[in-house]
């Protein structure tokens, strides 16, 4: 490369790998996602990219990786301006990205997906070499995935692992990870971080987007904070205190709720949130499951003879590594998947064999783990999505089943206000929302039903600190009002903090059911790995 770069405005010389200068992005609907943002990425550094939902993090990384053109501004490397017409060109330049919403071919297996990402015109695909490389990577990174199953059949957490492995298999110099940890268990996160640290020490530049303060503290060297599209902070980790970091993450107008959340989650105590939770007043049984077995897409028995109850006024948490039957269990209970044997009742009415509509009528709300496949019709507008599943409610329908868009829009505006969903309005397409705001829309829609039981899979996936805390508070508040909550989450802290009883699931069975106080993280970790613990 030419060393004759005589730029006078470059203070750091060629110490950087890539720099985005004065980037602004205005989407076609007029949303200003980025305002004059300048960031510099250096080799051998892990940068945390922080900011509230909708701050522009994904947009910025998409511009860096050639997926989106900026409206204004430019991306430069020490060799001059770079312009990527496609992710392929960015990849050739050494930039790889783990997407918040995975970029995988559903009908392809993990091996095929990874091979595809290496595909070059006129070069034959080598599946066997890819498989070897993948197996090596799986051992190295601790991220295990089934290699020969179409990825659409995998749980979201497993797909996340495939997406990460895909990018790791590329030899990139800049690795961008957009919320890679939101559906991983703490152990998996630890392993991933070990690998990332090693890559950093090898001189790679790494950008990590996360909403978890703990992760930021443990792995990043520098953090860049975005707020409403502008860079409002760019500081070395060594130079900030935890409190300052918390300020930066939540913004200066810290509401009490968010402030508490940050304060609490920085604590070393693994059970932070239950502090302001009252003792459960367990009511009558709502969900009763007996000897339930469910076939999976890949396993003959993904759920293997489970028996449990969820009572009103209680949060029943299911912890475990994604892909151990949680998905199938939830699908069976919500009418999306047939059960093999056993019974399941809500308020003593059988729910197996019913379709989702009939189950919702019994007072069930379902927050699905996969927001793009189940939770949303992406091309639909916010308003259309806000009535999915409740579109036949009397209040939304007039004579002749005509939809009352006026009422629906009012309902949506109320949701947008209550759950702080950022969008241009009820007629914005759902796909134009940021990941966190899509999640808020789904959670808001389901919780607004005020159901007898909430079946929630990864309810706070991708939510920023404040929003996640609001959702948790809402779940606790619903519990206090006597509702039953079945919470499935890979976020161990969340399960332990919120639940009144926790079940640890491994290969379709509960390894243990206990009160969170009786469990410590180490014990839970072992149980999640299938190692029985006595006593």
């Amino acid at each position: 490369m030419s060393q004759t770069s005589n730029r006078s405005d470059t203070e750091k010389g060629d110490g950087y790998f890539l720099r985005a200068e004065g980037i602004s992005k205005i989407y076609s609907d007029g949303t200003v996602a980025l305002r004059d943002a300048t960031v510099e990425l250096r080799p051998g550094e892990i940068v945390g990219l922080l900011g509230e939902n909708g701050a522009g993090k994904t947009t910025l990384t998409k511009i860096l990786s050639g997926l989106l053109p900026p409206t204004r501004g430019r991306v430069v490397s020490p060799r001059g301006q770079v312009k990527f017409a496609s992710p392929r060109e960015a990849l050739d330049f050494g930039i790889g990205m783990v997407h918040q919403h995975f970029a995988l071919v559903g009908t392809f297996t993990a091996v095929e997906n990874v091979a595809l990402s290496h595909e070059r015109p006129f070069v034959p695909l080598t599946l066997s070499a890819t498989r070897e490389r993948l197996e090596g990577l799986m051992a190295e990174s601790g991220l295990k995935v089934p290699l020969d199953v179409p990825v659409e059949k995998l749980a979201v957490g497993e797909q996340q692992r495939v997406e990460i492995l895909k990018v790791l298999s590329q030899n990139v110099n800049l690795l961008i990870l957009d919320e890679p940890t939101s559906v991983l268990t703490p152990l998996e996160v630890d392993e991933l971080f070990k690998l990332l640290r090693r890559l950093r020490d090898e001189g790679k530049a790494i950008v990590l987007i996360t909403h978890k303060l703990k992760e930021v503290g443990s792995i990043t060297d520098r953090v860049i904070v975005l707020r409403k599209g502008a860079v409002v902070g760019d500081v070395q980790m060594a130079e900030v205190t935890k409190e300052e970091l918390a300020q930066l993450m939540v913004g200066k107008e810290i509401g009490t709720r968010a402030a508490q959340a940050v304060e609490l989650s920085t604590d070393a105590i693994p059970v932070p949130i239950s502090r302001h939770k009252e003792e459960a007043k367990r009511g009558s049984g709502v969900l009763h499951v007996e000897n339930l077995s469910v076939a999976g897409d890949t396993k003959s028995k993904a759920v293997d003879g489970l028996t449990f109850d969820v009572f009103g006024g209680e949060i029943f948490g299911i912890a475990g590594v994604e892909g151990n039957g949680q998905t199938e269990l939830v699908e069976a209970l919500t009418g999306l998947r047939p059960a093999m044997e056993g019974t399941a009742t809500i308020h003593e009415k059988n729910i197996l064999g019913l379709d989702p509509r009939q189950i919702y009528k019994l007072g069930v709300a379902h927050i699905p783990e996969d927001r793009w496949v189940l939770g949303l019709v992406l091309p639909f507008t916010l308003a259309e999505n806000a009535i999915l599943g409740v579109h036949r409610w009397e209040e939304f329908r007039g004579p002749l089943s005509i939809l009352r868009w006026g009422k629906i829009n009012a309902h949506v505006r109320a949701l947008m206000e209550r759950f702080e969903i950022q969008a241009t309005g009820p007629s914005a397409p759902a796909k134009s929302l940021s990941g966190g705001n899509q999640q808020k829309l789904i959670v808001g829609r389901e919780l607004a039903k005020d159901p007898a039981i909430v079946i929630a899979s990864q309810p706070t996936r991708g939510l920023d600190v404040g929003a996640a805390q609001y959702i948790r508070d809402t779940l606790v508040e619903m519990r206090d009002r006597g509702r039953a909550i079945l919470l499935v989450s890979a976020d161990l802290d969340e399960v332990l903090a919120l639940s009144d009883r926790v079940a640890i699931m491994y290969e379709g069975k509960f390894m243990a059911v206990a009160r969170p106080e009786e469990l410590d993280r180490q014990k839970v970790g072992m149980l999640m790995g299938g190692v029985g613990v006595k006593g």
Partner: protein, 382 residues
């Protein structure tokens, strides 16, 4: 909270930007039409015709006067229906190629009203009902095959087209045949005919039925719970199922409604098509209207309102094409018009072409930026 606080000038620019983006689909259709016409022009030039004079003749023949406009609209009427058949099912996530056959059956059913007598308005109404029900019933074949046996609707609708084609051939030749005029069926009695709208042309009151039906489809799809379910199932079946929507039901409903539309196309081309008001053996008045409807649906962006405009455009091509082939010293065969239609459909289907549009916009913006900056000093390297 939201990211909308920007300087007023920026807001104005964004307003224009948004309007253009909103028009994007329509502009794409127009672009495709232009490309189609250009391809036609090139071919005419190669074959030694004068494209300018041919298109001039086409334009005059299509929209040159009241008579021409009326015939263009008349030719668009059945296309509105058959395009709706395709679009309704596409919105529900299925490729229904069966409009052609369902239309034949609808037409045959409409002719049956010749065998009984009723008061004027009622007779017409019963005929419409016959055609609609017949079209819907015929569409249930492929629908049920799909729902019960998983047979691809593409295959089954094509098969059903052939079945209905020869069935109607048979009916026209042996059952519904006019004993005095063996080349056609019995004529629809006056009491069951659509009144002529513009005397001396093909344009009858059937056009009102077409427009009303298109508006009805619009209301059903975008303003009722059922339509909501159909569109959700068509866009993301998994999410629709999660939302408590029965995909089987939406499939059946959209197929049936599509069948009604195709049946009405049959009614319009018999009860509403002077001067014969009958099916002529060999079905010359009907042939291909179902397939052309798919082209109309594409150009109309599968939206009922868009389809109204697209049908008028294709009707104009058909009407004008007839004039073009008789045009003085430069007679261009009617086939040329079909080439143009084909090229338009191809142009719609080529995504690169459609991406040309944003690319052009981007290029224009870039140009404007460079002009505004007036040659910035070279920034890179040195």
């Amino acid at each position: 909270m939201t990211t909308t606080d920007v300087r007023p000038r920026g807001r104005w620019v964004r307003g224009v930007h948004r309007t253009l983006t909103g028009l994007h689909p329509a502009l794409e259709s127009v672009l495709a039409a232009v490309v189609g016409l250009l391809v036609g022009a090139v071919l005419m030039y190669i074959w030694g015709y004068d494209p300018w004079r041919a298109y001039w003749a086409l334009l005059r023949g299509a929209f040159g006067g009241d008579y021409e406009i009326a015939s263009s609209i008349a030719r668009g009427v059945p296309l509105i229906f058959t395009a709706l058949t395709f679009s309704i099912c596409l919105r529900a996530g299925m490729f229904n190629i069966g409009a052609e056959g369902q239309m034949y059956i609808g037409a045959a059913a409409a002719v049956c009203v010749a065998y009984f007598q009723l008061p004027a308005g009622l007779h017409l109404f019963v005929g419409i009902l016959f055609a609609a029900v017949a079209g819907a019933v015929w569409s249930l074949g492929p629908a049920l095959l799909k729902l019960t046996r998983g047979v691809s609707e593409v295959i089954s609708t094509i098969m059903f087209n052939w079945i209905s084609r020869f069935l109607v051939f048979y009916l026209v030749a042996f059952v519904l045949v006019d004993p005095r005029q063996a080349q056609r069926t019995v004529r629809i009695p006056v009491s069951a005919r659509f009144p002529i709208l513009v005397q001396g042309t093909d344009l009858s009151y059937a056009v009102f039925m077409a427009v009303a039906f298109a508006l009805l489809v619009y209301v059903v799809l975008w303003h009722t719970a059922v339509g909501y379910e159909v569109r959700a199932a068509g866009l993301t079946p998994t999410a629709a199922r999660y939302g408590g929507i029965s995909i089987k039901r939406t499939m059946l409903l959209s197929f049936a409604l599509g069948g009604v539309a195709a049946g009405l196309a049959g009614a319009a081309t018999t009860m509403g098509l002077p001067p014969t008001f009958a099916i002529i053996s060999g079905l010359p008045e009907l042939m291909n209207l179902g397939f052309d409807g798919m082209a109309v649906a594409m150009v109309g962006r599968n939206h009922p309102i868009g389809i109204l405009f697209a049908a008028l455009f294709f009707g104009g091509l058909n009407a004008g094409g007839r004039v073009m082939q008789f045009y003085g010293s430069n007679p261009v065969p009617l086939e040329m018009v079909r080439v143009v239609m084909g090229a338009i459909v191809l142009a719609m289907a080529i995504p690169e072409l459609i991406r040309l549009f944003p690319a052009l916009a981007e290029a224009g913006r870039g140009l404007a930026r460079t002009i505004a900056r007036r040659k910035p000093a070279t920034e890179e390297g040195a």
